[in-house]
Structure formats: structure tokens, C-alpha cells
């Protein structure tokens, strides 16, 4: 099964959220497109949520050959 670890989903979702939301500022400043904030936030959450869900059920993403997680502390 191609499953991504819970930790990977959490970290990836955090990064994806920030990146997608920052794109709104980039669109506004660079291209001058004024997106609706509520709509854009909903869109961001939807993208992040769907990606996380897809990762969780193994629709997308593959685990590396070795387990990526171990205890280091």
C-alpha cells in the first residue's frame, strides 16, 4: 500500500496551506487580481483538505523504500 505517514501529511498540509494562501498575495501584488478573501480561504482549505485526504487513503503519494520515520530523541 502506498501510504504517507500521518506526520508527513501534517507537515505537508501546513506547507501547502501557507504556499496556497501566499499565492493570493502574489496574485494581488504582481498581477493585480483581487480575489475574494473568504472564497480564497475556503479554496485553500479545500485544496489542503483534499490533498491530505488523498494522501491518507493512499490515492496519491508513495512511501520510500525504507520507513521514513524513526525515533531520534
Amino acid at each position: 500500500m502506498n501510504r504517507t505517514s500521518k506526520a508527513g501529511i501534517l507537515v505537508g498540509s501546513g506547507m501547502l496551506f501557507v504556499i496556497v494562501w501566499e499565492i493570493r498575495s502574489a496574485l494581488g501584488l504582481l498581477v493585480g487580481i483581487d480575489t475574494n478573501p473568504q472564497l480564497y480561504m475556503l479554496l485553500t482549505l479545500a485544496i489542503v483538505g483534499l490533498t491530505a485526504f488523498a494522501l491518507a487513503i493512499g490515492l496519491i503519494g508513495v512511501t520510500p523504500e525504507t520507513p521514513a520515520d524513526e525515533d531520534t530523541s
Partner: protein
Amino acid sequence: MSGENTVREIGHDEFDPYGTLALILIYFAILSVMWVFMYFVEFLGNDLTVLA
């Protein structure tokens, strides 16, 4: 010397960090584009240029 999860040892001479190179070239491109945008559009395109 390496962690428990090492599946292979890679020495200095056999290691080409091409992934790093790719990432850093992307960073370089972003920085260049953003700089040009910030300087020429946001700054020089802004009102009230200070002349003296």
C-alpha cells in the same frame, strides 16, 4: 557513523547533490523575478519619487 536508517553509505566523491542544485536554482529564479518586480514595479512605479 550514520543513523540506524541508513540503507547505503555515500561518500563525498560519489555524491552529487543535484536535487539541491535544482531547488536552489528555483530559489534563484524566484529571487530574481521578485527583485525585478519589487524594484521596477512596486518601487519605481510608486508615487513621489525622491529627487534630492
